[in-house]
Structures are given as C-alpha cells and as structure tokens.
C-alpha cells in the first residue's frame, strides 16, 4: 500500500462502464450504468453494496470475463478484453479442481504459464507455506475445510505473481471466526507488496476493516453511490470509536440508498 | 498405447470371420455351403452333415431358433440355403429374393395336438376353442383350415386361431390358454410325453403326403457350383433313406444337430410310422401350386410365383429322390 511519499500511478481505470442485459419482456436491465472509478497501484478497494447493485459484474469486467456494453476498463493503460493471469480472481466457491491435490492445484496455474517443472514445484511449496498449508500439499480439496480451501485458492492465485487480485465475496461462505482470521491473513500476505486488490463484499464490517477505500454501490441502475476513504492505520481495530464512525457513515449512505430504491432487487 | 492395439485386435476378431464376403469359395477350393435349419424333425435330413466327408463342398449346418431369424438370414444371403416353410419360401421369392427350391425337406411331419381331455376327441369338438399355429405363413395354417373345413367347421367363425412360438405351445396347452395346437414335431410328441396333450390327427391324414419345408438355395451358388449342389442334394436324399430305414440310428445322430433326446426323436419317427416321411423329395410344381392356391383361398397371401423358375428338380431327379 502506498506510503504517501510518491503518488502511485493509476493501475485500474474504469471509464463510462455500462452493462445492459435484456429482460424477458424485452426491456433493458442496466446492471451497470456509467461507472467511473480510478484505482491506484497498491490500493485495496472494496466494492460494497446490496444484491443487484452490479458489484460482481463490475469485478467481472475488470477481470475480463464480461465485455461491457459501454465504456471500458483499462489496466496499466491497456483495455481489458479477456482474462489474464496478471489479474487473478478469487471466487466465493473457491474454484479448486477437486480431482487434483492441493499442490497440483497450485501447480496448475504455474504449468499453464509454462514455468519449468522444478521451479514450479519450488514455488508451489513456497506459496503453500505462505498460507500455512504446506503440510496439506497431498490432500484433496474435499478433505479441507472452507477456510483452508480459500487459502489454497489464494496461494494458487498468488503463485503466478499477478499485479491485480480481484476477489468476489471470497469469505462469504465461511463462518464469522474463519472470516476474521482469513481477513487478517490476507492483509499479512499483502504486506509482501506489489498487489492492487479489488474486493467485492456485502459485509460492511469487512469492507471497512480491509479497504483503503470503500466504494458504495446502489442498484437500478447499478451505479456508484459514494466513495469513502478509510483513514485508519493498520492493524485496525474492529471495535472502537473510529471504526464505529465509519460504520455509521456507511449506514447513513445506505439509508439514502433504501429511500431511493423503488423496487427491491431481491 | 496398449489400449489402442487391444482395441484393434478386438475389432479384427469380431469382424473378420463374419464380414460377408462373396467368397464362400474360400482359399481351400471347396465351397462352404451354410444351410439353415430349425431343431425340428422336419429338418432331420441335415444329419447328412454327420455322415461322412463331402468331396465337393463343406457343408456347414446353421441352427436357428425360430422362423423369422432363418428367413432373415436367407433373405440377406447370410446363409447359402435353408429349409424354409413353403409359404415363407414363396413369399421371399415373390419379393424377388434370388432363391430356388432344389429339394423337399420332408413330407408330412406335423400333428394336431389337443388337450388330454376325453371331451376333445374329434374335429367337431374344436368348435369354439382356441388353436395355436406357429405363423400365418405356415403350412400349418393351411392344414388346420383344411382340417376344419373338411369337418364342416369354419376357421374364421367357429374357432379362434392365434399365432404363437412353438416352445410356448405346450405350456399354453397345459395351462388352458389354448385347447389345441398344430406345429411341426417334436413339439406334439413332447406334449404327449408330458401327458399334457394327445394326438387328434396326424397331418398326413389331413392332406396325405403334403409338402411342408423345402430346401431353398441361393441362385448364385447353384449357378457357380452345380457339382457341389449335386452332391449336397444326393447326400440329403441319402440321409432321408437312412432315416426311413434306420430310425433309431438316425435319432441318435439327430440329437447332435437338433438337440432333443434320442428317445424323443425316435418316438416321432416310429410312433406311429409315417408321422414324418423322407421319401419322394423331388419338388414338383403340382405340390407348390396347390399350396399357393390354399394360401389364396385362405386369404393368407395373393401372390403368384412362377414355379417353373422357382423350382429346380434336376438335382433331385439325378439323386433318385
């Protein structure tokens, strides 16, 4: 994360992004409408909002899985047209290959990148060690808990040394205790540096705990409601007046959202 | 890739011996002639295959389990010839399958079996009953209709005729589903031996010396290998004589080809004598014309086959049949 002395460059630039899906009755559903967002290199940005606000679609567009109907996403100045190992996605459902061992899962990406076998093996061991799962290298995913699976997914993603980490509600399927631990572990891993992170969540506390900035999104059409800079030093306290202060501000913003929501997206 | 070579082998094994190549005239020089038959005493002359070596052909008996399969194989040319019911042969010929009759399989050979009940003593007792026949396209259909009409009964209104596979007929008789059946031996004999049924009349007494099954050969083998066909017919005629003169020995040999116990076969051949006969096997237009007439009269089929072209009795005459 930037140390404030040098102005980091814009890593991810979203300009005028729109995404439209046709509804069964023919009318247009604006999942995203005119999104503008600049994310600096090394920043940790959280996209926060209720269901239907388009946060996942926005992440998908950044990853290159979805092509926008309008506007574009640029990463390092180049327009995103498809997925790339430079911007790795972490999914809520982990996405581990059940027929491969933990280590082979991590090796998958390295092999896909053509990394020579010996080096790939070394790296896989290294990254599994980083997430504390070196001992489970020979297990299969079904033998692991949810939290462990997500750690493997993170190790697998980081092993190919991406610039950008895009996380789609990565801890959504986990219980609160595991979630808190993994959030801390994520922050610890990111201290190694070099990553720009965009994390999608509906958990207000998570957004404030993790993000340098919280982008509040609202539905119908999917848009950015407000952006909050979280000016808390790390390590952050989940309790305490400062944290509460941000929570209150987010709630206020969402009360506004509630007032303006004409129909529910649930 | 071990798997791939195994597959190739499996493919070769399964297809090689039976891909139908026109060369029944194999590398050996002696043509292979496959003759289809059913395990019924009508086809007993097939024991010719077990009575010594053949000089000019390799005779390969192919046992089928029912008429449709045999007819299909004959039609498709999967066998060079078969003993076929006259109506089946006529029907195939009408469909322009290139076959000719060179020899009769037998004469007589069927029986009307009724339930072992004193109430079913004569033809008139069959009124209102259900009678099983193997197929509409059979001599048995003709026989039963003739039998009924000879005795003042009308096959359409006075009885119910149903088609049934021969093996099921005995059980059907036992359980009362049918009260009578007419079919080739030894099914009738087996019903007798199980004390389930009794003979009401032998087919030879309905229509003396009637024809039933005939040896149909594919034309191409007749044309290309007349010498082999000559020997085949001669040996079959000879086998017929053997059956007539030595039924007990014939029955013993017959087990190998048909499968029933020798006692059953012997019973059919001897009790009474003449149930099935193997004399006079040259095919004549008269016999076939009568059959065609009956088929027309009884509404089974209305085709006419040029019998002069269909029948070829030259081989049979040469063999003295």
């Amino acid at each position: 994360m930037g140390d404030g002395m040098i102005t980091p460059s814009v890593k991810i630039q979203v300009s005028g992004l729109g995404k439209v899906f046709p509804r069964p009755d023919g009318s247009a559903h604006h999942v995203l409408s005119d999104i503008h967002l600049d994310i600096r290199e090394g920043a940790f940005v959280c996209l926060l909002g209720p269901s239907g606000c388009g946060k996942t679609t926005l992440l998908s567009a950044m990853a290159g899985f979805d092509t926008p109907s309008a506007g574009q996403v640029r990463i390092d100045g180049r327009i995103v047209t498809g997925p790339s190992p430079r911007r790795m996605v972490i999914f809520q459902e982990y996405g581990l290959f059940p027929w491969l061992t933990v280590q082979d899962n991590v090796l998958f990406g390295l092999r896909a990148q053509g990394v020579p076998e010996a080096e790939a093996r070394e790296r896989s061991v290294e990254y599994l060690g980083l997430v504390g799962l070196a001992a489970n290298a020979g297990n299969h995913p079904h033998q692991l808990s949810g939290g462990m699976k997500q750690r493997v997914a993170i190790a697998r993603a980081l092993a190919v040394r991406p610039d950008v980490l895009l996380m789609d509600e990565p801890f959504g399927a986990l219980d609160a205790f595991t979630r808190y631990r993994l959030q801390d572990e994520l922050l610890r891993l990111l201290e190694l540096g070099g990553l720009t992170v965009v994390l999608v969540t509906h958990d207000i506390d998570e957004a404030i705990y993790l993000g340098d900035r919280v982008v509040l999104m609202a539905p119908n059409p999917g848009r950015i409601q407000e952006t909050l800079a979280i000016d808390l030093p790390r390590p952050r306290q989940r309790t305490g007046a400062a944290f509460e202060g941000y929570r209150r501000r987010v709630f206020q913003a969402f009360a506004l959202v509630h007032e303006r929501m004409t129909d529910y997206a649930i | 890739m071990k798997r791939r070579s195994f597959l190739k082998l499996a493919l070769a094994l399964s297809l090689a011996p039976t891909v139908r190549t026109v060369d029944a005239l194999a590398a050996k020089g002696k043509p292979r002639i496959r003759i289809g038959y059913l395990p019924i005493t009508d086809h007993l002359s097939i024991i010719a295959a077990g009575r010594g070596n053949f000089e000019r052909l390799e005779l390969e008996p192919v046992k089928f389990s029912s008429w449709p399969e045999l007819a299909e194989a004959l039609k498709a040319g999967a066998v060079e010839g078969a003993f076929a019911l006259t109506p089946i042969g006529l029907s195939l010929r009408q469909k322009e399958v290139p076959i000719k009759v060179v020899l009769l399989g037998h004469r007589n050979g069927s029986v009307v079996t009724v339930k072992n009940d004193p109430a079913l003593a004569k033809a008139q007792d069959l009124k209102g009953k259900t009678i099983a026949i193997p197929s509409r396209f059979s001599t048995h259909n003709i026989l039963i209709r003739k039998y009924l009409s000879d005795n003042g009964l009308d096959a359409t209104n006075d009885v119910t005729l149903i088609e049934m596979a021969p093996p099921e007929m005995v059980n059907a008789l036992a359980t009362g589903r049918v009260q009578a059946f007419i079919v080739a031996e030894p099914f009738g004999a087996q019903a007798e031996m199980q004390h389930v049924g009794k003979i009401q009349i032998l087919s030879k007494d309905i229509w003396p010396d009637h024809i039933c099954c005939a040896l149909n050969l594919r034309q191409n083998i007749i044309e290309s290998e007349p010498a082999a066909v000559e020997e085949l017919v001669a040996r079959l005629v000879d086998a017929g004589r053997f059956i007539e003169s030595q039924p007990k020995e014939a029955a013993t040999l017959g087990t190998r080809y048909l499968g029933q116990k020798p006692e059953v076969l012997e019973y059919v051949l001897t009790t009474p004598k003449g149930r099935v006969t193997f004399n006079d096997l040259a095919p004549t237009p008269k016999d076939f014309a009568v059959t065609q007439d009956y088929l027309r009269t009884f509404g089974v089929s209305d085709g006419t086959v040029d019998l002069g072209a269909y029948l070829d009795d030259s081989f049979a005459r040469k063999a003295g049949a």
Partner: protein, 250 residues
C-alpha cells in the same frame, strides 16, 4: 462387522427368494416351472458336458468386445460433441431419434450387414452400450462447472490443457456413470444378441433349451446370466471406486 451383516442379510435374501421359488414350483410340473434343486441339477449337467463353460467363455468374449468397441467409439465422439456446439446441434436430433429404438429391432439390419454368427451379436450389444455412454459423455462435458473453465481461462491455459486437464477430469464422473449403466444394459441384451444364428453362447443356450422345452436348462442359463451380470456390475463398482480414490473424488 457391518460388512459381515451385509453379507449375511444378502445371503438370507437370496435364500428367501429360493424358498419362494421352491414353493411356487411345487404348484407346477417340472417342465413348466422347475424348482431350484432341479435347476441346479441341470446346471451340473451343462457343466459336466462342457457346454456351460464354453458358452460362458464365448458370451463373455463377445460381450466385452462389443462393450469395449462401444466405449471406444462413444467416449471420443461424446467428448467432441460436448465441446463443439455446432456438431452437437447437428447430431443431437438424429441421436435422440435412434436412441429409443431397441437394439432388438435392429435384427434384420444386423443380419444384412453382418451375416450370422459373432458379428451381429456383437453389433446388438454394441448398440445397447453405445448410446448410454455417448449421452453420458456429452452430458459430462456440458456439465463441466463454468467456474472451472473460468479459472483455467484466468490462468491462460491453452485449449489443449483446458481439454485434457479440466474438461476430461471434470466430465469423468458422468462418463463413469454412463459406462456403468451401459455395461448393465449391454449385458441384458446379450441373450437377444445371441439369438441371431449364433451357434454358441449363453443366449443361444437359453433359446435352444427353449426349443427343447427344457425349462430347467432355460432357468439354469438365466441363473448363470444373472450371476455373471452381478459379478460384472460388482467389478465395475470396484473399478469405479478405485479410479475415484486415485483421482481424489471419493
């Protein structure tokens, strides 16, 4: 402990069926419905004459040839149809048309194309196995979780790598199920397949016995067919379990 109980209960079930069978048989003559002891005697007779073992060997050879051919044809074809949408849309209606036709209805064509003997029997059994495996393979490929494909694309995996290392393993459970169902269906069609002028085999044994009204031999044949079918299915279950354990999905 639990396994022993399962065997004991299973055995008791079989004996119960045998008991009911014996009771039923007492209501009929031996030719109509023979009891278990009569059938066992016929079984012994067939075994002593050497016919039984020869029939079993020939039937098994035909069966496995047909099954392996069917699988070897259906799996690659299914993989291709699963991946290529155009090919699938082209082939699917025709396949759905052919699938419900019982292999038995193909008899006349089988004889026309393959004559008599081994080949038509192999063909009938082939048909019985082909469609279930093909459909299961296509479904397996179609059913690959989009998430896996996304992950693979994210890593920049080549199409070859995606196919061999993601699609194939992901589709494997469905393919394995198809293979298992197919082996059962194909075995059932064994008897039918061997009715076509085959001169040997278990199916032939049964239909031949039928012509001799040897119901005891018919039932002995049925018993052997049933037992062998059970063994084959058990073998498949074991093989499947082994593969799954090796591939980490059990």
């Amino acid at each position: 402990m639990i396994r022993r109980r399962r065997y004991v209960l299973g055995l008791a079930g079989v004996l119960l069926v045998a008991g009911i069978w014996q009771a039923l048989a007492s209501l009929y003559t031996i030719e109509q419905l023979p009891g278990p002891l009569v059938v066992v005697k016929a079984l012994g007779e067939l075994f002593a004459s050497g016919v039984l073992l020869k029939s079993i060997a020939i039937s098994l050879a035909r069966f496995f040839t047909a099954y392996l051919l069917a699988s070897a044809a259906a799996v690659p074809l299914g993989l291709w149809l699963g991946r290529s949408l155009v090919s699938f849309e082209l082939a699917n209606p025709a396949l759905q048309l052919l699938r419900p036709i019982s292999p038995i209805a193909w008899f006349p064509l089988a004889v026309l194309w393959f004559g008599i003997g081994n080949a038509p029997a192999v063909f009938i059994i082939f048909l019985a196995a082909f469609f279930p495996v093909l459909l299961a393979t296509v479904q397996g490929v179609h059913g690959v979780a989009p998430l896996y494909l996304k992950v693979a694309a994210n890593f920049g995996a080549s199409p070859g790598m995606v196919f061999c290392r993601v699609v194939l393993p992901a589709a494997f459970p469905s393919i394995a199920t198809g293979l298992r169902i197919a082996i059962g269906t194909a075995w059932i069609h064994l008897v039918a397949g061997e009715m076509l002028g085959a001169q040997s085999g278990l199916g032939f044994l049964i239909v031949d016995a039928r012509n001799f009204l040897r119901t005891d031999c018919i039932m002995a044949g049925m018993l052997v067919v049933g037992v062998l079918g059970l063994c084959i299915d058990s073998g498949v279950v074991v093989a499947e379990r082994f593969c799954r354990r090796r591939w980490g999905m059990a």
